[in-house]
């Protein structure tokens, strides 16, 4: 998950708004913070303030939820002004560490545009890909039971219809399927079927 943290640097009084990928460790000493947790690279943010511990808090994400855990129980932190040792963070929450107040914003997430589904393809449209049960799955084995599934190329079933697909229109008022000759003339023949593209267009 990507988050944007914004705060005023206590030494330079400068406003800072960098983008981080979770997990994010915050502390006073870079080398005191872990470089890696459970195989995930940790973004390390150093805040040079006497009231900040060497390794003060860790922000992680689990199931699209942002969690913050104080690593130094004695120093703790404040979430929206309340003293806490751990808690969850929502978009716009204020996290106070030492004398530094950090505003946490969830970065606009990108939507997965991979094609998923077995019988008919559609866009995944999920915002979190980690452990995505759909887009990580391969259906090769099952497609083996219908060789050429999703292809309507030359010599295969339905090819003539597929080649002229742009000429067909369905009128749902009358229930009729119309064929437009004019379009057939201007239609450019495609050599190969882009299965996923066609399946996904809805």
């Amino acid at each position: 998950m990507q988050i944007q943290l914004s705060w005023i640097d206590p030494n330079t009084e400068e406003r800072r708004e960098p983008l981080f990928t979770t997990p994010v460790a915050i502390g006073r000493k870079f080398e005191e913070m872990p470089a890696e947790i459970n195989g995930e690279l940790v973004s390390r943010l150093v805040i040079p303030d006497d009231l900040v511990a060497d390794y003060h808090v860790l922000i992680t994400s689990k199931n699209q939820q942002l969690i913050v855990i104080a690593q130094n129980q004695n120093m703790g932190m404040k979430i929206n002004g309340l003293q806490k040792n751990n808690g969850s963070l929502n978009d716009g929450d204020r996290l106070q560490i030492g004398s530094c107040e950090i505003v946490v914003n969830l970065a606009a997430t990108t939507v997965c545009d991979r094609m998923v589904g077995f019988l008919f393809k559609r866009r995944c449209d999920r915002t979190d890909h980690t452990g995505c049960p759909y887009c990580d799955q391969s259906y090769e084995e099952d497609y083996a039971f219908y060789a050429d599934y999703g292809n309507y190329r030359s010599g295969g079933w339905g090819n003539t219809y597929y080649d002229q697909r742009d000429c067909y229109f369905y009128d749902h008022y009358t229930g009729n399927v119309n064929f437009t000759e004019a379009d057939a003339v201007s239609f450019e023949r495609e050599s190969d079927a882009d299965f996923e593209y066609d399946m996904g267009a809805s």
Partner: protein, 301 residues
């Protein structure tokens, strides 16, 4: 809803209409239950053998003792008899328990196949829609599955019972609003009658013959999305691509629905893998048609 064990034990049938999650949880419960039953059945089966052997040995000894019974030996013989009674009771108990668990130890390939099918279908299922599953673990030749009785064509006095055992019925709705009904029906025949044996006595004989499986898939789809199927109607048959070990029994196509029936040979009727492959091929065959129909079904504006 937790699965009703009593019901499963009594009727050997699972039936529910619920969200997919709940149905799969139930299926997993049945798997666990059946595996446990298998273990218990074996355990009590072994116990029954031990108790029986023990009772036999004690029985022989006490019978021997009773012949030379006098004084102190009388007391020993009495104790042996007491032990014999105890062992016989234990033996009967173990037998009853074994039979009880045997009823719960349901036919494995049926739920494994069902689980496998759900996993395949779940990729396109609308999880917010209700899913219906009826899964029976009954053997085919029971009275309620009997659909017809006919006279034997050449054995006089003999009859043939015809059975149709629909042991799977699945219904659900895909994300494209298409509804599906999938059924698996085991077919079998039983011929029976009196036969004169070599000794001259009349003997009652019966013989069961499997007729294989009928797999039926019905798809009911939205016309708005797949309306152009009427253009392809006459060519649907060529798109059907089922495994070589199965054959097409029926195909009906209208602009609202497709119905496909495939027959599987008797020797494959209990093969989880072969049934699964056939069903996957059936779904893919019909959707090969639907996906093209969709491309031709753009609406006129």
């Amino acid at each position: 809803m937790p699965i009703e064990l009593q019901k499963l034990r009594k009727h050997s049938i699972y039936e529910d209409t619920a969200l997919l999650d709940s149905v799969t949880t139930d299926l997993d419960d049945i798997v666990a239950l059946s595996q446990l039953a298998e273990i218990k059945q074996n355990k009590f089966g072994k116990q029954a053998i031990y108790y029986f052997a023990g009772a036999a040995i004690v029985g022989i000894i006490s019978f021997g003792l009773s012949g030379i019974a006098s004084g102190l030996l009388n007391v020993v013989a009495f104790l042996f008899n007491l032990g014999l009674v105890g062992l016989v009771i234990a033996w009967i108990y173990a037998l009853v328990m074994m039979l009880k668990f045997r009823r719960l130890n349901v036919i494995n390939y049926r739920y494994h196949l069902t689980r496998q099918l759900i996993e395949m279908l779940a990729r396109d299922l609308d999880v917010k829609e209700l899913f219906h599953l009826q899964l029976s673990f009954k053997k085919g030749e029971s009275n309620e599955n009997k659909t017809n009785t006919i006279d034997h064509p050449y054995k006089s006095g003999w009859k043939i019972d015809i059975y149709e055992n629909q042991w799977l019925n699945m219904r659900g709705r895909f994300l494209d609003k298409t509804r599906f009904v999938l059924t698996i029906t085991g077919l079998s025949k039983k011929q029976y009658g009196w036969k004169r044996g070599s000794s001259g006595k009349n003997k009652y004989k019966s013989k069961v013959k499997s007729g294989g499986l009928d797999i039926n898939l019905n798809l009911i789809y939205p016309q708005r999305r797949y309306g152009a199927i009427k253009v392809l109607q006459n060519e649907v048959k060529e798109a059907i691509n089922i495994p070589t070990f199965s054959f097409l029994r029926g195909l009906k196509v209208t602009d609202k629905s497709m119905n496909l029936t495939v027959r599987l040979d008797p020797q494959l009727a209990e093969s989880q893998e072969k049934i699964y492959q056939t069903i996957v091929a059936m779904f893919l065959s019909l959707y090969q048609v639907l996906n093209l129909a969709k491309m031709l079904s753009k609406e006129t504006v």
